[in-house]
């Protein structure tokens, strides 16, 4: 289980081909500081933009006077909502079929909302000019608590929307069977309930959002440089928003300094940069600063949840969940059209439940919009947190061991494919086995003994468990789309005459290592060395259409596309090889990199030889064109369902209430691992984020709607000192329907770790302090308050 070096391709190995631990191809440029990020790009004649943002969370705009700003030397233009109206760009659609103001004209609806856009010769001048714009506001009552937003006397936030009379962003959405759930609860031996909040946090990518828009008035061509997670979708959106022809728009992403869901949406700053370039006729660059990123771009979570769980005969039987989702001032949550609460209804977890019922209502508040899938497949993080906290609450109530209760309630291996009570079809799994591996690594029984000893001495130690199942790799076109676009991905593979290959994909790496992993997929399927395979991405002119990278969908969808396209090329190569070897295709057998004659293995053709032949003057098979390439669009038949067993061990200082995560054991089953080293890197990163979310990361507001976490001094992300040496393990249950047997993994650690840590904190404090729940983040002050018997939800 432990990390082994055996599958590391040795440098002497002639052809280090296919799956295995391969160092990342992209790192050569990254570790030398030679990546190309947005701010590295400078175009001739480029101007710089800056956004004026609202100091108020809710206020009517009485007037905007831009004359003084315009008079500042170096300022080229100041754009307001009025100017955008003439271009038809004052409002834009969100990914959730809502509309969002590009620049506020009538009202500002959250602190940090975009009010005016300055274009100037330098970024410094642009920002100096912001202070010279005079906006008169008439402040209005602000609502920051989603529950208060539902009160009758709450101010109406979206008075721009016709027919909108309250702050409901989307009506109550339900999944599961209410009656069957009521029955399960009526028949149960034990019932527990908990109110919990998954607080608002932020993906906080180190590279903030920005764009260079370069509109050429002569040709009508719009060139965009913008690191985003779904370049093809963005192109379609811009065509729609700006009324430009889609084939005249080209988006290049280059290197991206982190996305984590934050770079899925289209932001007002992007539309301003485009409008600015159209108006100014020169390239316009706009890059937000850290504060702007934290206060205005896509936040994550902000779910207020009530869970009830019941058990009968020692097994978990039912779950009831009621959620108020805070979407902020504009609904730009990320999810497929048919699922307004994303995949939240996967909250029945890894258990064979009798019934479950889930209700989610979304509301508007005077807070920044978002609800992006921060390293998570559309609200699965919230779902897993809910169910894994509830299981522990139930175990407490029953006096059961947190692992025993899970073991007794798991879906059994022979039940797969398993239809959940809320409508998911889990593809494969052996949950108990994975849980056992985690217990072994942790030394679970020893930990329990250690904890008992420490309790005697007055020391506080907690052991927390979580077991998650995710549904990732959205998704089958019959079930899901975003803005009417099917969630499929294309792949285009060309093997050149010299045997070097290029594969173009629609997934968009932000650090996930696609240039390596996807080359390895082709290498595995064709037997070419990965270094001979170039992975092309991030340029809409040079890549096939597809929905991009988020929701752990790259390997499940785009990776499958690469596998399938490689096999297509291999099949073509077989036909060509048959002609080359003057035999029938059926008589050929494949070994990595070579088709050979079944009865005469000496007789064969290497893939490189076949490629050379395919482009040569030699005769091709009957009816076949020359060349060796193929193209596919992959439509996944189902999501993939990775899972994992996580165990956290925490120590709490009894006096200061500081929580230290001493050990973290993560056993992931993501099916076949293409590059185990990259998989482990993804798990390390996600666990670090999970520790941050559990212990320190939170976006809060005061009663007036001022955002209190607008810099990295106030929005804390963990450092190496808060993160233990991770102990990883694996089990491998190949995905039955994925061409490579792989499942997504990038998000699992972020999804699975917060509940393990919170469960551990409560485990440490339950016996001694009677603590039954603490909301995240478990900061020293909040844990101390819980120890005093008054846990408080974050505000």
């Amino acid at each position: 289980m432990a990390v082994t070096e055996e599958n590391l391709p040795s440098p002497r190995q002639e052809r280090p081909i296919g799956f295995g631990r391969l160092k990342r191809k992209e790192d050569a440029r990254f570790i030398r500081g030679q990546g190309t990020y947005l701010d590295d790009i400078r175009l001739p004649g480029m101007l710089h933009g800056a956004l004026l943002r609202s100091p108020y969370a809710h206020a009517r705009i009485v007037s905007i006077d831009t004359s003084e700003a315009l008079a500042l030397p170096g300022v080229a233009a100041v754009v307001t909502a009025k100017d955008l109206e003439t271009l038809g760009l004052a409002w834009m659609p969100t990914i959730s079929y809502d509309t969002q103001a590009v620049l506020a004209g009538d009202k500002v609806r959250f602190q940090g909302q975009e009010v005016a856009f300055v274009i100037a010769e330098t970024e410094y001048i642009a920002r100096d000019a912001l202070g010279l714009i005079d906006v008169e506001y008439e402040p209005l009552d602000a609502v920051v608590d989603a529950r208060r937003a539902l009160h009758e006397d709450a101010p109406l936030i979206r008075d721009d929307k016709e027919g909108q009379v309250d702050n409901v962003a989307s009506p109550t959405w339900e999944a599961g069977d209410q009656e069957a759930t009521d029955r399960a609860f009526a028949e149960a031996d034990v019932v527990v309930s908990r109110d919990m909040i998954y607080p608002r946090c932020h993906p906080a990518p180190l590279e903030t959002c920005g764009m260079i828009a370069d509109f050429n008035p002569e040709t009508g061509q719009l060139d965009i440089y913008n690191g985003n997670q779904a370049p093809n979708v963005h192109r379609t959106v811009y065509a729609h928003v700006a009324g430009l022809a889609e084939h005249m728009i080209r988006i290049r992403c280059n290197d991206i300094g982190g996305g984590f869901g934050n770079k899925v949406p289209v932001y007002p700053g992007y539309v301003c940069a485009i409008a600015g370039s159209i108006v100014a006729g020169v390239p316009v660059k706009w890059i937000e600063d850290r504060t702007e990123n934290l206060v205005s771009t896509g936040f994550a979570r902000d779910y207020i949840m009530r869970g009830e769980m019941c058990a009968k005969d020692g097994r978990i039987t039912g779950l009831r969940v009621d959620v108020i989702a805070d979407h902020g001032a504009f609904d730009s949550t990320a999810q497929p059209t048919k699922f307004p609460a994303g995949f939240f209804h996967i909250c029945c977890g890894s258990y064979d439940l009798q019934a479950a019922h889930v209700k989610v209502k979304a509301v508007y508040t005077n807070k920044a919009p978002g609800g992006v899938a921060y390293r998570c497949s559309f609200r699965i993080t919230e779902a897993v947190y809910l169910v894994e906290r509830m299981v522990n609450a139930l175990a407490l109530e029953m006096g059961a061991d947190q692992i025993d209760l899970r073991m007794r309630s798991f879906i059994a291996p022979e039940q797969f494919p398993y239809e959940t009570t809320t409508g998911w079809t889990f593809d494969s799994g052996n949950y108990a086995e994975t849980m056992k591996v985690a217990m072994e690594i942790a030394g679970y029984d020893d930990l329990l003994r250690e904890q008992a000893d420490k309790r005697e001495r007055g020391e506080l130690m907690g052991i927390g468990v979580s077991f998650f199942t995710e549904g990732v790799g959205a998704g089958p076109r019959k079930h899901m789309d975003i803005l009417g676009l099917s969630m499929n991905d294309g792949a285009d593979l060309r093997v050149h005459p010299s045997g070097k290959a290029m594969v173009s994909i629609s997934a968009q790496t932000q650090g996930q290592g696609h240039e390596t992993t996807f080359a390895q997929i082709v290498a595995e399927e064709l037997g070419l060395p990965p270094e001979d395979i170039e992975v092309r991405h991030g340029d809409t002119d040079r890549t096939p259409y597809g929905l991009g990278t988020y929701g752990s969908r790259s390997t499940p969808v785009s990776g499958a596309a690469v596998g399938v396209v490689s096999r297509k090329v291999r099949d073509r190569a077989r036909l060509i090889a048959a002609t080359m070897l003057e035999t029938r295709p059926e008589d050929l057998a494949w070994e990595k990199g070579r088709w050979y004659v079944r009865g005469d293995p000496e007789q064969g053709a290497m893939i490189e030889e076949i490629a050379r032949y395919a482009y040569s003057g030699e005769p091709m098979p009957e009816g076949m064109e020359g060349g060796l390439d193929a193209q596919v669009i992959y439509d996944p038949p189902n999501l993939t369902y990775p899972y994992g067993a996580y165990i956290a061990v925490v120590d709490i200082d009894p006096d200061t209430a500081q929580v230290t995560v001493r050990r973290f054991i993560a056993v992931d089953d993501c099916g076949v691992r293409i590059n185990p080293m990259i998989v482990e890197g993804q798990i390390h990163g996600g666990l670090a984020e999970g520790i941050g979310i559990a212990l320190m990361e939170v976006i809060t507001f005061d009663a007036e709607g001022n955002c209190l976490n607008s810099s990295f001094m106030d929005y804390l992300i963990p450092t190496a000192l808060e993160v233990p040496e991770f102990e990883l393990g694996e089990t491998v249950t190949p995905c039955p329907h994925h061409p490579l047997g792989a499942k997504g993994v990038g998000e699992s650690p972020n999804v699975g770790s917060p509940p393990a840590i919170v469960n551990a904190v409560i485990d440490a404090l339950h016996q001694t302090h009677g603590v039954t729940h603490v909301d995240m983040p478990c900061t020293p002050a909040r844990v101390w308050a819980a120890m005093q018997g008054r846990p408080e939800p974050p505000q």
Partner: protein, 292 residues
């Protein structure tokens, strides 16, 4: 990118030259040392000085840690990293290293200075409490010469010190007395963050009793808190856990924290007491170990 408002910049070549420049700009100029407090404030446009006078070339005049005339003298431009690594301080006042291990991060510590830290006079700043506990005196130089002030007189109010607009802090002086033991304890939300609460303690033990004591707190008031009542209690008493618990009780009573993202008032009072107790215990253990 966060951008400061426009400003003028000059590099001083001597302390006297820097003072002359301050005088010439008549209140509109600011000294810049490590820049780790001033530049973030400028970028957030919380501060918009018209002139910056950079003293980083004055290491020959202002960067040193030396023993002279029964004192340890620390030049104002001495960086955190050098305070952390100083053997002289480790021998006499180990609380400096305690504090420096938990002040910010290596990047900040490589540039930030003791002079900048004290002059910033942020109530959450660690070195002010450290200097107060060891009863340091600071040297302030202006066009009319030098004066020396105690830490009590140095802290005038929130972000306000005895250093005038046209003066420079040049040196920090620590008394060298026998039987000294000292310690600094801090509770933070995360490594590199400012304190939720921190306590510095120094004791001078002679023949089994505490001859003198200094205790000061960070982050639990509008400025560094000097715990005079606790010092009085400790003076002349024999070190014991009960005594330190009483001093800790005073700490929780005599601080005046306000609620913020780091925690509510009662938690901070509680922490003030926990940190004080821990600091006194370790300070006393260190003093006794030296004595032994």
């Amino acid at each position: 990118m966060q951008t400061p408002a426009p400003f003028q910049y000059e590099r001083a070549t001597s302390v006297d030259g820097a003072i002359a420049a301050l005088v010439a700009h008549d209140g509109d100029a600011r000294i810049i040392a490590g820049g780790h407090s001033l530049i973030p404030m400028m970028k957030l446009r919380l501060a918009s000085p018209e002139h910056l006078i950079d003293i980083n070339d004055l290491e020959h005049e202002l960067a040193y840690i030396a023993e002279r005339d029964g004192e340890i003298r620390i030049g104002a431009l001495t960086r955190h990293v050098d305070l952390l690594g100083s053997d002289l301080l480790a021998r006499h006042y180990p609380l400096f290293a305690d504090a420096e291990e938990v002040i910010a991060d290596p990047v900040v510590r490589n540039r930030g200075t003791i002079g900048g830290s004290l002059c910033q006079a942020d109530a959450a700043e660690d070195l002010s409490a450290v200097c107060a506990a060891v009863k340091a005196r600071v040297v302030i130089r202006g066009r009319d010469g030098e004066r020396t002030v105690s830490m009590e007189d140095f802290h005038v109010g929130p972000y306000q010190t005895a250093v005038g607009d046209d003066e420079i802090l040049t040196e920090v002086r620590l008394p060298l007395r026998s039987g000294a033991g000292s310690a600094h304890f801090k509770t933070e939300r995360r490594a590199g963050d400012w304190a939720i609460a921190a306590a510095s303690a120094a004791v001078w033990i002679e023949g089994g009793t505490i001859a003198d004591a200094g205790v000061a707190l960070s982050a639990v008031g509008t400025t560094t808190i000097h715990l005079a009542r606790a010092e009085e209690l400790l003076r002349g008493a024999a070190p014991s856990d009960e005594l330190f618990a009483q001093a800790a009780q005073i700490a929780s009573e005599d601080c005046s924290p306000s609620a913020d993202a780091r925690g509510p008032v009662d938690y901070k009072r509680h922490l003030a007491s926990v940190m004080t107790r821990r600091a006194l215990r370790r300070a006393s253990a260190r003093a006794l170990a030296m004595e032994a």
